[in-house]
């Protein structure tokens, strides 16, 4: 809430509807969190569909999941966690006003994100060649063809939506590069980096759940 005595801080980034940078920062942070709640529910619909279908056709899901590459999935998990680390460090660098370091960590985050997407492209093209992409050309030689198609429908929906979020995240990160290089972020003003960080970590969390749910069904069997 605004302070009655608050004087207007003369800062270029302060928008007219706010009294202080502090109020602006708190508002935008809350806004990002509320947005992330909508994202939870957005992915939540898919997780719900996944849960019900997996319960109905567990054996088929396990069978289909065997055809995913655990190595690539685990590698990508590690890559994404690494990108979360560089993202957190980028926020740190912005907070302490080290623009060049912030720039470096942002580049690192973008790089790891790109690696993740690259691996995803490799995985998708495998699926495409094996005709495991649902639709007209879907072809399944093993058991449970119907459940396998449902599984891959959900696989592509969930990882595809996740990848779209990654791409959007990389776009936003790229927009931060120039201001970071120019040292625009400081202890007083680093909100764009921090909010992008929240978003990036959220995307990481989604993958933390997607990895065991999609790649690791019934592997012990």
């Amino acid at each position: 809430m605004r302070e009655a005595h608050a004087a207007h801080e003369a800062h270029a980034a302060l928008q007219h509807q706010f009294d202080t940078l502090e109020q602006q920062k708190e508002a935008s942070t809350l806004g990002m969190w509320v947005f992330l709640v909508t994202e939870i529910m957005f992915f939540g619909g898919l997780f719900c569909a996944y849960l019900i279908h997996r319960r109905q056709a567990y054996e088929g899901f396990a069978e289909a999941s065997f055809h995913l590459d655990v190595g690539l999935g685990a590698f990508n998990t590690a890559v994404l966690i690494g990108s979360s680390l560089t993202m957190a460090l980028a926020v740190w660098a912005a907070q302490v006003g080290r623009g060049k370091a912030c720039f470096g960590f942002l580049v690192g985050t973008i790089g790891l994100g790109t690696v993740f997407l690259g691996v995803k492209v490799v995985e998708y093209s495998h699926k495409f060649h094996e005709h495991h992409v649902p639709g007209e050309r879907f072809h399944w030689t093993g058991a449970h063809p119907e459940a396998a198609e449902v599984f891959y429908s959900l696989y592509f929906a969930m990882t595809g939506l996740h990848a779209l979020h990654m791409i959007a995240g990389i776009g936003v990160l790229a927009a931060l590069l120039l201001p970071a290089w120019r040292g625009r972020y400081s202890a007083a003003y680093h909100n764009p980096v921090e909010l992008t960080g929240l978003y990036w970590h959220f995307v990481d969390i989604v993958w933390i759940f997607l990895f065991p749910l999609l790649y690791l069904i019934g592997r012990h069997g």
């Binding site: 056709a57 567990y58 054996e59 088929g60 396990a62 058991a143 449970h144 063809p145 119907e146 459940a147």
Partner: protein, 355 residues
């Protein structure tokens, strides 16, 4: 009620009065509260009307808690009481009694196809004897439909890919609307016809006018042989015989089935149907997933016959004597002769719903 302008549909089933009573109960409560609110608003509106410009209402501080509790808790208790009553009526309406005779219904855009236990079939019409509890086991060939007979106060969605059921015991002879209540496409409003409730003798007479064919279980048994199901599942022979390639179907219906993968499910109509069209979905523990799918080879009505046959092999519901099905299994298919109407055709003597 005056006859030309009814406010309540005819009550022609054993549960209709109970539903009406429940509705009447709620109506009384609704009328009480609505009248209370309306009268209070009108009285206050007149009595406390503004009499001069700038007048202000009472600014006295009042203790609100006692009133708030009163008007939260009283409606709460009423609502919970009505909930219990509603659940009670719901189970009366939905739980079929054990003596219910099973009919098989298939919905498709935009008609109802009914198979009587005797094997007689009809389209967009349903003839049932008065006083007899009947249970419709229903599925859909395409989209979701809903089987609705207002005079019986029963309704149930009919879904593709699984069976649902509705039951009723007609108490009055007569002709009642049969509607599709779940929007199902272009001719949704034309998907329906009439339920004719006949006296027992009239029903027998009506059945006799159609060409008699094998019972639904018998046509299922015939189909079972024609599709060579028996080569693996062996049900025609000794119920005790041990099949080699597939589990025996004797006593299957209603039983607990252990699946490969560790789960246990109850073998209901939907499971048996799924095992025919998508055999690998739920494989019985200890058996190989070698059964081919019959999707596309059997119609939804033939599936119903197969399921009815498997049900008749014993289980939780009263079974048809094994000898009976075995004897009729060899008869040639008679399905075509017993049809009482073509798709879209409206049976003689019945007006289209829409004039």
């Amino acid at each position: 009620m005056w006859p030309d302008f009814p406010l309540v549909p005819e009550a022609a089933s054993s549960v209709a009065r109970e539903v009406d009573l429940l509705t009447l109960g709620w109506l009384a409560i609704s009328a009480f509260f609505t009248t209370l609110i309306a009268v209070l608003i009108l009285v206050f509106f007149i009595h406390y009307r503004r009499r001069r410009a700038g007048e202000v209402g009472s600014t006295r501080e009042v203790r609100t808690l006692p009133l708030e509790l009163t008007w939260s808790l009283i409606p709460l208790f009423i609502a919970l009481g009505m909930f219990v009553w509603g659940v009670d009526v719901f189970f009366t309406v939905t739980e079929a009694p054990p003596d219910a005779v099973e009919y098989w219904v298939t919905g498709k855009q935009w008609m109802w196809k009914v198979q009587h236990p005797s094997g007689v079939r009809e389209i967009n019409a349903l003839h049932v004897p008065v006083g007899q509890a009947v249970k419709m086991t229903m599925t859909s060939e395409d989209v979701i439909h809903s089987f609705y007979v207002p005079a019986f106060r029963v309704k149930r969605d009919v879904l593709p890919g699984r069976y649902s059921s509705v039951w009723f015991r007609p108490t009055k002879t007569g002709r009642y609307h049969l509607f599709c209540a779940e929007y199902c496409g272009t001719e949704h409003s034309l998907m329906g016809g009439f339920v004719e409730v006949l006296s027992a003798e009239d029903y027998e007479r009506w059945l006799a006018t159609g060409t008699t064919g094998p019972t639904i279980q018998a046509s299922g048994a015939e189909l079972f042989q024609r599709l060579a199901c028996d080569t693996c599942h062996l049900p025609g022979t000794d119920p005790g015989a041990t099949p080699l390639r597939a589990p025996s179907l004797h006593g299957l219906f209603g039983a607990q089935v252990a699946l490969a993968g560790g789960r246990t499910i109850v073998a209901d109509e939907t499971y048996i149907r799924e095992s025919i069209v998508n055999p690998q979905a739920k494989v019985v523990a200890g058996w190989q997933p070698i059964m081919p799918t019959f999707r596309g080879q059997v119609t939804e009505e033939q599936l119903a016959a197969l399921v009815a046959y498997v049900k008749s092999l014993g289980g939780a519901t009263p079974a048809v004597a094994p000898g009976e099905t075995g004897a009729e299994a060899g008869e040639p298919p008679r399905a075509e002769e017993t049809r009482r109407g073509e798709p879209g055709e409206i049976l003689a003597g019945e007006e289209p719903v829409t004039q």
